[in-house]
Symmetry: C2
Subunit: 286 residues, 2 copies
Amino acid sequence: MQIVTALEELREVRLRLPGLVGFVPTMGYLHAGHMSLVKQAKVESASVVASIFVNPSQFGPQEDFAAYPRDLERDLNLLEAAGCDLVWTPTPEIMYPSGHQTWITVEEITKPLEGAMRPGHFRGVATVVAMLFNAVQPQRAYFGQKDAQQLAVIRRMTRDLNFSIKIIGCPTMRESDGLAMSSRNTYLNPAERQAANVLYLALSIAKVAFENGQREAEKLHQTMSEVLVKEPLARVQYISCADPDSLQELHGRVERALLSMAVYIGKTRLIDNIILFQEGNYASHD
Amino acid sequence: MQIVTALEELREVRLRLPGLVGFVPTMGYLHAGHMSLVKQAKVESASVVASIFVNPSQFGPQEDFAAYPRDLERDLNLLEAAGCDLVWTPTPEIMYPSGHQTWITVEEITKPLEGAMRPGHFRGVATVVAMLFNAVQPQRAYFGQKDAQQLAVIRRMTRDLNFSIKIIGCPTMRESDGLAMSSRNTYLNPAERQAANVLYLALSIAKVAFENGQREAEKLHQTMSEVLVKEPLARVQYISCADPDSLQELHGRVERALLSMAVYIGKTRLIDNIILFQEGNYASHD
């Protein structure tokens, strides 16, 4: 496995990679969710490239950029063991040198949900992903369904800017109690960690209601709310029942829906989501 | 020479082009300026791709999108004769299908000059050029120095977003009286056409002053202004003496400068520019 930092070095090594390239962009501190992306890339591509870059431009001024967990040595060992061919570890100075002034905005789809709570977040995400795509020039790129709006934004940007890259969304990986894997789970103390499974519990109970015939967006919303309110360590930031493509909030009868939420467990902000669909009514993006 | 319209068809044909690809993006109605770009691309690349697309998103609501001259048949004949290998002629519906919502902004460098007079213009330019770059995937792309700020914006975007593309600026082509070639010259009636050489006259007289030792930005500005005011058909929109890289207006003593202007001749808005530099003090971008 080759490890490069400079952009010029990345370009040189990239040119020598054989066949189709699958790309897994990450912010490091890898967990089984990331590794499932690498595994799928490995199955589908001749060469696998990963990047590790904690992107400052997608963090708000009050957010956890400085505190975000980092462990490069462990990450590199995991990637090597998974058969990754090339890892790019650029620095903020490489990605945003003095004079950098170009930004990518995706409009409507970034307005609700995470975009509403984290102003500028998706501008940072879209810009860095385009910079990574242009540098790595993959044929396929892998993202987790856990960040559902991020995945939708990247699909939209990829289509709108004519990138010749297939975007592949992969299922959320979960701990044994259902908690979605996230590098930020490391912020939780033991009591919070136990409380944190309430997000998936709320989503799962709403899913059962849907499967038992509950089709009213407002009722599904209420079901999630009732579960979350019972957990004293949880403070809901938003709960949503939205169209999975446009991310617009749904009202009345729903056939397909993205249920999603952002919930503070203590000081740690967690997000999770699931997609509901009637049998035979799920149109995949791929 | 192959001619394609659909994006999928472009991608297929592009993959079969041999060697390094030089790309000349145009809005059509080609003149000797465009053809000089094609010629340089032909010398430097194994394959030459041109695009013809009058990009609606770079025109303001009061500007000349509908009136912009078009003659596809003539353009294709010129490109074929010049040895172009592939021409892409996308439609607005291909480039901006329903739901398109991704935009690229380049910040500081787009604020003065054309950017100040044409709000949103460079957002449209940066976005369409990125879309063309991603679709065509060239190794080199050619732009005229006539649109000096556009060239600076594209260089900046290319660097900031990590495009692996070399941007090549080519000298402004001029008519025998010095008028910079432009598809918009076709708007001029005979009297206006005669008056239109006042832009280059003003630039040339300021250049002579500079070469004779005049180094004060304000004096160079005044020299251009005095020439332009004598032409009754000319109405100055702006005159500028700016840093060639940052495009910030210069004051006091200058060593290198971009002299530029936008001037209405009747109802037709024309732009022109030259770069002044002391011998041995010109750092090229290439």
